[in-house]
Amino acid sequence: MSTELPPGPAGLVLPSYRRPAGVHPALDFPAYRSSLLRAPKRPPVPLAQGLTEVTGPLLGAERVRSADADLTTGHGGEPLGERIILTGRVLDSGGRPVPDTLVEIWQANASGRYAHGVDEHDAPLDPNFDGAGRCMTDSAGRYRFVTIKPGAYPWQNHLNAWRPAHVHFSLFGRAFTQRLVTQMYFPGDPLFAQDPVFNSVPDPAARERLIARFDLGTTQPEWALGYQWDIVLRGREATAFEAEQPR
């Protein structure tokens, strides 16, 4: 099979990425108070995917050390809290693994406090935890972090508002269209029902995809609880070229 792409009308055959209809939150979501003055009011203008959109930064390996995937080390001692292993695969919606892509995470400490000057929650900082991690996915798209389970914390969105425990994730994929920033939650959290960020995702089934799965197989005896969470980025449409291949 030739790998040479036949010339299109302009001699340019590009992959295209499926649009994520109905999956992501609407930007204009008043229950999330911070959106009131920040969410654009006009509908976004459709942009045909061109060279800039179907390419993207393929980087990270040179800026990641293996120790960056373990948030419990690198300080004077061990952080307080429940040690966890957080692992899963980065896939595209076609089921293909996304290898060699940078995954960045950040989170609160076990008592629900971020190591950030803006966080005024009256809970202790932990001198042994800064809450930032990064790693590259392996050839099967797998990532793996060792960290501690973050605590829930109060915020000012509404009376008695509390964020469910979560870990922030940032992913690049391989194209500008695949860029994703999201949050991973823990199973069975009683705070889901009152959290506007979690509930900003319109489809209840899609919300469930933000929740990691406790996994005894990932759990290491006498050491750490294991959670599995797969992340699915936008996949490529079959190109005209692929569609024309004999089956």
């Binding site: 340019l12 006009r42 459709p46 999201t182 899609a206």
Partner: protein, 192 residues
Amino acid sequence: MSLMLTPSQTVGPFLAIGLPWPDGPFVVPEGTPGAISIGGLVLDGAGAPVPDALVETWQAAPDGSFAHPDDPRGPGPGAAGFRGFGRCPTDRDGRYQIITLRPGALPSGDGGTQAPHVDVSVFARGLLDRVVTRIYFPDEAAANAADPVLAAITADDRRATLIAAAVPGSGPGAFRFDIRLQGGRETVFFDV
């Protein structure tokens, strides 16, 4: 096999813990010949600066190439030290700035040409998903006039939100591009 996508969630107010890179704003190293700066303010619907946003940029090299296997034209020579990607958190005054090279023009799928541009993602507390916009250059009038993306935005004042301004008195290499998330002069954002 078809898998359902993972939904977006807001980057929240504490992105500074995990996302800024010391060299993030430098798409090329400082002092690179021909380097330009692009910077400005991120503003909310009340015109107040957004001090906790993250601005990311992605663009072609000056020769119009991308170091990426999905560019069917193949890799171009690019430019030494050129990463294509920039990342800058806003400061307490809502300011961001990247140092880069001018992107080249690109062929568009319909046989036309896209004017030199930089794709931009903005993340912030209050944004449940990123917003995407484009930076075009004020001294590319002919190329901008022929650009299919700009041409599709018929209102002059809307189209103008996508074109950076030369910074007066700063020489040829300094551009200002403010991003207004909301309001009467709201920046044009794209659904990619």
